[in-house]
């Protein structure tokens, strides 16, 4: 079978579920390996923040945040339309 060169490019989505704090992220790629949907990819530069290549495929399970060794390095953000409303009890 002939060899094919693979590429991966970020597939745009109206949402961005995963945000990294570059100062806190140590680039260990634990999140990359635990992501059930394989939407995260290791950075080409070792030790740098992973890349969210398939944001639309996120299932918002939060596994990446759960296994992250540095609290605050990853934030999971629901799409704006899904921010359920809560109000003060009068």
């Amino acid at each position: 079978m002939k060899t094919k060169e693979f590429t991966v490019n970020q597939i745009p989505s109206s949402t961005m579920p995963i945000h990294y704090n570059e100062e806190l992220c140590v680039g260990c790629n634990r999140c990359v390996d635990v992501c059930q949907c394989d939407i995260l990819f290791p950075n080409e530069e070792k030790g740098k923040t992973p890349l969210v290549m398939y944001p639309g495929e996120c299932y918002y399970c939060g596994a990446c945040v759960m296994v992250c060794p540095n609290k605050g390095a990853i934030t999971l953000q629901h799409p704006l339309m899904n921010q359920a409303k809560f109000v003060e009890i009068k």
Partner: protein, 644 residues
């Protein structure tokens, strides 16, 4: 960007083992552990990563039907038969009985592995739902105590650790794509499976004496959104029914696949994040609900009598022994109906105003804390997405009320043609060994027909694993036709070599629209046949033109090919049932008879060389549950008795 992983397309690696388990969720892990403990070599294949994979990968909060726990006041027989009756016998007695009988044993296993099943931190001392002697905590029916509140986020990491300790061979990031079978003396026998690494494209051939299918249920058949495909269904984006598809291609039998319900949940595309809106079901039972004015919405018993004491929400009605609540219990029969808020129609008639809210501030402190902080936090997709996120947004359950959407607890309203496999849907037909119609191929968890719930996944997984191990211990490896490998290799890699072709999302969208148009709420032969014809044109004209640029997209492309296969299976199952059937949420316009007595049967369906075949099976084919179970599980019963 350059692909960051090795390119191993064309590389084929063979792994020989006694038992191969396909799917690394709860049921798959327990199947692997049970088989390995019998001393066999075991491989487990998971498309994601086992540490958090599966429908309950990031947690679950309820363990249902734990009838043998020391506080339970019900027997396995009572609850298993109650489920069968509640579902009009379009139910899986074997599945329910295994769950009722062995579920609690699995919970004790999890505790030994490091999972948390008791309030060992003593956060809930003195609560009505807690047994002070055992530290076990209960939900729903505080009198009969057969549903437990558990710390499900701890379970998958514990199972992974245990499998590593036992020496199970773990294949994460490998998508199972096909079953291997061979025909011996005119009989089909399982001989393993094929998988593909979703990062490298490497093909893996698992030569095994027995195979366990543990790959959940189909999804994205009617519901799809190309912008946020990860949100279009309730179950994990990864779970799309590949196990059903490969089973169908290999001649495995299915039943109840004509059952689908008007959609109830998406992961958030149409709904809101699961368990993230105000409601009083499941994780949120029995939250206090209020209307727009802040007036409390009354709970009533099964006779409509208003409950005045808060704790009445957790006890059976006078003269009722127990009630059923849980994953597949929507609108139970009178006999099993528990406390519930007044129905929506009556509320509006009485002047209650939308929107409604969950107001936990009005509840006793420990009842509030067990919902917000324990249950919300341990249930799937709630630890970070709900508990942590909402706390970060400033939500405080003592000063805020959380809004409900729509008119019920689903948090969205769907159309009748937008359907889902929910509420104990169809799946693999099996015998008392959880064996399929093909020798050497077993199934468990959500792949079984009429299944549901995490405890059941664990119980049936363990059961299937030990039966698969018993079988593997008594047979030799059987060879398989090498042309199966060659054909699968061609099928798997074809989209990589097609330039400028069609993307998987376009096909998924078209399938979903086809199923909504031709296999929606109301069905008839002519419509279903047109739908089947359309799916076949996709297969003929579109599938050869699918293209993708890396192994990730190749995985997604094969998921949609499996969705296409499952869609055809669903239409065939619908065509086979020639009447309307309320229990299966199945409505026909071309056959007037509704629920005729002659149609109270399983229509079991499979295909052989492209020809669809059906046979009828009695609904109660499982026989006397206790007697049949005990005659087949003597060794297990002895082991459990010795441990106790």
């Amino acid at each position: 960007m350059k692909w960051p992983y090795d390119n191993k397309v064309g590389v084929k690696t063979t792994i020989k083992c006694d038992v191969v388990v396909l799917g690394g969720g709860l049921s798959g892990c327990f199947a692997a552990i049970a088989a390995r403990k019998k001393g066999l070599s075991v491989a487990i294949v998971e498309k994601g990563a086992i540490e958090k994979s599966g429908a309950a990968g990031t947690g679950f909060d309820h363990w249902e039907s734990a009838c043998t726990n020391p506080c339970s006041k019900v027997t396995p027989e009572e609850i298993a038969y109650a489920y069968v009756d509640e579902q009009d016998h379009f139910s899986n007695g074997i599945f329910h009985y295994i769950t009722c009988r062995e579920g609690y044993d699995r919970l004790l296993d999890l505790e030994k592995m490091g999972g948390k099943i008791r309030d060992t931190d003593r956060e809930f001392d003195g609560a009505r739902f807690k047994d002070q002697g055992t530290d076990l905590m209960f939900a729903y029916d505080y009198e009969n105590k057969f549903t437990l509140r558990v710390w499900g986020t701890t379970f998958k990491p514990a199972l992974l650790k245990e499998m590593k300790r036992l020496g199970v061979q773990i294949y994460d990031h490998v998508e199972a794509t096909a079953l291997l079978t061979t025909t011996k003396n005119g009989k089909k026998i399982g001989s393993g499976a094929i998988g593909m690494n979703v990062r490298t494209g490497e093909m893996l051939i698992f030569e095994a004496k027995s195979t366990v299918l543990a790959m959940s249920r189909p999804a994205r058949v009617w519901l799809f959104n190309a912008d946020t495909p990860g949100l279009c269904e309730f179950r994990p984006f990864q779970s799309i029914g590949s196990g059903h598809a490969m089973g169908w291609r290999s001649g495995v039998e299915f039943t109840m696949m004509e059952k689908s319900v008007r959609a109830e949940f998406s992961a958030a595309g149409r709904s809101f994040p699961p368990y993230g809106t105000g409601n009083n079901h499941n994780t949120w039972y029995a939250a206090t609900m209020v209307d727009a004015r802040g007036v409390e919405i009354p709970y009533v018993d099964r006779d409509g009598k208003e409950l005045t004491d808060y704790y009445d929400r957790y006890y059976p009605a006078k003269g009722q022994k127990y009630f059923l609540k849980g994953g597949v219990i929507d609108d139970p029969k009178y006999e099993y109906r528990g406390p519930e808020t007044l129905d929506f129609k009556t509320l509006i008639e009485r002047g209650y105003q939308l929107p409604f809210y969950a107001d936990l501030s009005k509840m006793p402190e420990l009842e509030r804390k067990v919902i917000w902080g324990m249950m919300v936090g341990q249930e799937a997709k709630t630890s970070v997405p709900i508990y942590q996120n909402y706390n970060d947004r400033g939500f405080d359950p003592t000063t805020h009320k959380l809004q409900s959407y729509g008119t019920g607890w689903q948090s969205a309203s769907f159309l009748d043609q937008e359907r889902q496999f929910f509420g104990a849907p169809g799946g693999i037909m099996h015998d008392w060994d959880l064996k399929t119609n093909i020798d050497g191929i077993y199934a468990c968890g959500d792949q079984l027909f009429a299944s549901d719930c995490a405890g059941a996944a664990c119980a049936t997984g363990h059961y299937a694993g030990r039966k698969a191990a018993e079988y593997a211990s008594n047979v030799e490896y059987v060879s398989y036709d090498v042309s199966l490998i060659e054909n699968e290799e061609k099928r798997l890699y074809a989209p990589l070599y097609k330039e400028n072709g069609i993307h998987w999302k376009e096909l998924n969208m078209a399938i979903a629209k086809c199923m909504q148009n031709y296999c929606g709420g109301i069905k008839c032969d002519a419509l279903l046949k047109e739908g089947l014809d359309l799916l076949e044109t996709y297969e003929r004209d579109i599938v050869p033109n699918l293209s993708c640029s890396n192994p990730h997209d190749l995985m997604r492309t094969h998921e949609v090919l499996d969705i296409l296969t499952v869609s055809k299976l669903v239409i065939h199952a619908c065509l086979a049932r020639k009447c309307s059937n309320t229990s299966l949420c199945f409505e026909r316009s071309d056959y007037a008879e509704k629920n005729p007595a002659w149609n109270k049967k399983h229509i079991v369906i499979h295909q052989e060389d492209g020809v669809v075949k059906t046979r009828d099976v009695e609904l109660d084919y499982f026989g006397d549950l206790k007697q049949e179970y005990e005659s087949r599980n003597k060794e297990y019963i002895k082991e459990v008795n010795n441990e106790n």
